[in-house]
Assembly symmetry: D2
């Protein structure tokens, strides 16, 4: 941390800052030769908060030089994290993980038919919500426990891994009994109670980026999970809020290579929410893979025009099949493979 | 809802849309004379979701004409909501409610001294967090239950109303026993489980706007509370995320008059978080009152340079006293008063 | 400037950076005691660009410690700039300058009637565009030279100062012959050729903030004008782009006190563009004054429902009169006055 | 256009609106069956501006149903525009156009060596600025006319097409004599005088998206060029401003497929500005191609650590060669080619 002084700061102002640094058990090191006078705070293990200095007389600005994250960072672990999933599958290594399915479980027929369709096209995991966070209290909120039962049956019958969202403490325990990967949604990215509890399950956690979260905030939320002893965090970019209604969100693919530089955690991408429009999903799914994503989350529905939620961004199964072919082509350019049907065939059926 | 067709939409495309509207039990009314062909969906009580049509062949765009909110809206209740608080105080009527205090309860001395200082300057309510949502799992997370006990003692001894945040289900029950107003923080604005539970307490709920929430999303979160039978929701603008680091947030005062047109709920403003810098708090607190806010939330600390959180945006007690005088002056220009010491003096000490 | 190294940076990486600093004629000062290794660049008068180091092997981050602006900064001149205008009026000192008028000059009747109305309500300057930058090439682009003639006549007959926008080099010369204050619009905030030419006129320049400009970019555009020897720059906040369509823009009043800390230049506010909706103009004009603005720019039209542009945000003259009363009230709370009719009466009519 | 009424609008309010619609020569068509009363404005050829109605008593909201653009839209021309360039090259058809080069022309050696390097790697066009819009008036502003001379020589000697930026009227005429494609930079996207003048040159215009421009604003700026009779507009996404400093910009690739649905114009992408960091350029260039971009603009410098501007985002020539190989691979997955050395070899050398 550096503390920069205003040009008109007095000697007393500087001494006050130095004294406060020393009181905190750190060392105050003056920085020579800059146009503005400055002191560095040396030996700060995090206990001195820059905000304390920010509004003292004579202080112009606090520059934080250390990053707040620890376990999520490459400094802590330079090799990429490869998360092991049932059936010998992984995420974070060479093979891409493609997860597909409807926004929510709506009925037995709907979820079974969609599961078969995505499996046939090559997906190895099914995503569908039993508990749905909806902006309106009057909108369909998911089938709840019955939805989880249906997912458990589909898992048993198809071998597809199950990815589904937990919204609160109670739901988390239920979800943890069925899901292979527990999703924490964008709206709950900073629900720290939920993150801690998710950490304690030990299960792989798919952590969606909040619609306005900075990369640092997102990584700090992953840190909450890891700090509970759970290293299995998958980050997932799903679009940030933009000023232009032409697309529902701005799909911020820059963060894929940027986060992979900073962190060892796998990063997936959700072009369905990232674009909000069916016609944009295929090109942007390709783009995400080209940018280096470790996997995709794709909304697919056998009858998008009947969907109870997110129909406008759900692919038809045929579109998803075409997408899978393109994804394999682009993965090959990057010397990567796509985890596929073989993996499922070989997997134990629970 | 209107469904607009692409210029190249076929008759079949239009018939498909009309059929789907009719299947949903609504009526399809063609709109004549526009440059683009369009049908309106008449008789839709909310059960038809525009997303179903959005990606059908030939459909260009869905225009939603009805607002999703109900109970929060002026259409539902044209008079402003005036929330009654202990001690005969109110929020949402003529008198402004000024709530002040430190970011968090740090110690008995700190909270008692700050409470006395803000009371002396004219605040009628004390805000301080016992449970703190922090971006880092390693940062000070609040004193928890002990913090609530201290707040209860301060309440008893000073007559100040208590405003404090609940972060999760368990904490909510604890907070509800002590707080006169329960704060739901910005990060939890879309934590729907928490909102429902807050609704069920029946207590006044201070609902902070999320850092990127649209006005509609914010009002829908208020709707979650009201849908549980709790009409006592106070909205609070606290800054949205901006692209410029010069200020910590963009304090979006436009929403104060804008929301008051749409909704009957009281709207307060938090210039401490809205600016993030002590030197900006006074001018922007004045601005919030001038824009029509029903009250203010101000961070005050007896020793900001020793604060465990948010020190950079906390006022010294003397600054808060000056601010109170300015607030009274501006309120008078708008023919409003500021709920003051008299109210507290008259209040039962619980 | 500080250069921070990655944890895995080699000695060679550090030496390369040090050598490059020295080649540039600066000194490399290692910073001890931080968790990350770092060197400061001492003696840099601006000739060393941090970008050179940003992507060298082993370099993690460049932290710029000096601000790019010079003449606009308080460091360069600690007293506030008070710009002298014809008729003994000023902006930047105690009295607020209220400028009002229609978005564009539409006809002789319209501009004369509006001028009289705003003068009667107490405005001392008339703003109206002769050249209008419009998003569409097919929209009304202003009356051009004829508009300027009408403004010159109104000036002569009413004593009102004239504020009008220049969009390009040719127009700038024409505008400079008529205007007392030349407006550079938000879309041209970074049209550097125009800024330089505006600087060379020596006339007061009203520089609107671009809809996404950072404070630094805005001040650097003012620096372009000042670097041509023209110290008479008035900054004007007019709203930045936000993600919510509830209001046309986010009116970023935080920048008023924030800029006044950094710069000695006067700062005005334009609540008409800042809100985009007539019903929000009065509360937000009050808020701007309460936040410390040195003046207001208000759209007023005698027949807003007939306006060729911006009708939705133009006040009726009666509304403007009420606004002026409120502005005087709030100014008084801050011990400020509003430049008024007396000033005009005393002014020479050119 | 639809005009929606407030629930409490009176019959008089509605009649006032209907009368105003009729006065404007349009027809007012009531829309039955909606929850809110509404009238459609039929027969509006653009002359009625919604803003007129927006703030009338009883009016709640104006919904614009027609898009403001004409010539840029697919409705006007359904086939994609293929722009013919010297040497038989094109942009907008199957082959991708890769343009590479340094931010600015710095010296004869620098520009010649970089030109040779990018040609060898397979680029067919050289981009380099002679006139540079810089945020600071004190920063390097380009070599000006001498820079253009050097570009003309390089063009003659290498056969590379020249892409260079024009910043103002005077510079535009100079640039037009040398450039094969004239770039209008992001800061000038709404400099309408410049756009009109660029339109009149008849030359291909590369129109960068402004850092906060909506898709509609961007297309309307293209419309300004086309309205002058110049159909040769190439759109170029270069990143929008985001709230997170982790990357310089948010590279908004969603707009590539989104704009291609709306418009027939070619869309290129600039991952150098879109990311601002060298390490992100390759993955995001791949992503842009995968998303459907018609070409790339890549900053390449023989000595990025000596660059006078944008060094941090410039690739080394070797990195650019690797990128070209990846681009060819991804293009092949999409059944596209990359315009290459063969094209240049065959091209007349001016």
């Amino acid at each position: 941390m550096l503390i920069l002084f205003r040009p008109d700061a007095s000697a007393t102002d500087e001494q006050r800052v130095v004294a406060l640094i020393q009181e905190s058990g750190c060392e105050a090191v003056p920085i020579p030769g800059l146009r503005r006078r400055a002191v560095a705070v040396a030996g700060n293990d995090g206990r001195v908060d820059g905000a304390r200095f920010a509004a003292l007389p004579g202080v112009e600005e606090i520059v934080t030089l250390t990053k707040p994250y620890r376990m999520v960072a490459r400094e802590w672990r330079s090799d990429p994290t490869i998360i092991r999933l049932p059936g010998g599958m992984t995420v974070g290594g060479n093979p891409l993980l493609v997860v597909a399915g409807p926004c929510s479980v709506e009925s037995e027929t709907q979820i079974r038919r969609t599961a078969e369709a995505v499996k046939q096209a090559g997906a190895v995991a099914l995503r569908a919500g039993a508990f749905k966070p909806r902006t309106s209290p009057y909108a369909f909120q998911g089938l709840g426990e019955r939805g989880l039962e249906l997912l458990a049956e589909v898992r048993r019958d198809t071998g597809l891994l199950i990815v589904t969202e937990a919204m609160d403490d109670e739901g988390l325990d239920q979800v943890a009994r069925v899901a292979d990967i527990i999703q924490i949604g964008a709206r709950n990215m900073q629900n720290y109670s939920l993150l801690k509890r998710a950490g304690r399950t030990g299960k792989p956690i798919l952590l969606k980026r909040g619609p306005t979260a900075s990369v640092t905030e997102w990584l700090m939320s992953a840190e909450y999970v890891m700090a509970e002893g759970n290293p299995n965090v998958i980050l997932c970019e799903r679009g940030i809020r933009g000023a232009d209604a032409t697309t529902r969100n701005v799909f911020d693919l820059n963060v894929i290579p940027a986060v992979k530089q900073i962190s060892h955690l796998p990063v997936m991408a959700d072009p369905s929410h990232g674009t909000g429009r069916r016609a944009l999903v295929r090109p942007m799914a390709r783009a995400a893979v080209a940018a280096g994503a470790d996997g995709l989350l794709i909304e697919v529905h056998v009858q998008p025009d009947q969907a109870l939620s997110d129909g406008a961004q759900s692919l038809y199964p045929e579109q998803f099949s075409l997408l899978m072919e393109e994804v394999r082509g682009i993965a090959a350019v990057l010397d990567r493979t796509v985890a596929g049907a073989a993996a499922i065939a070989a997997s134990p059926s629970t």
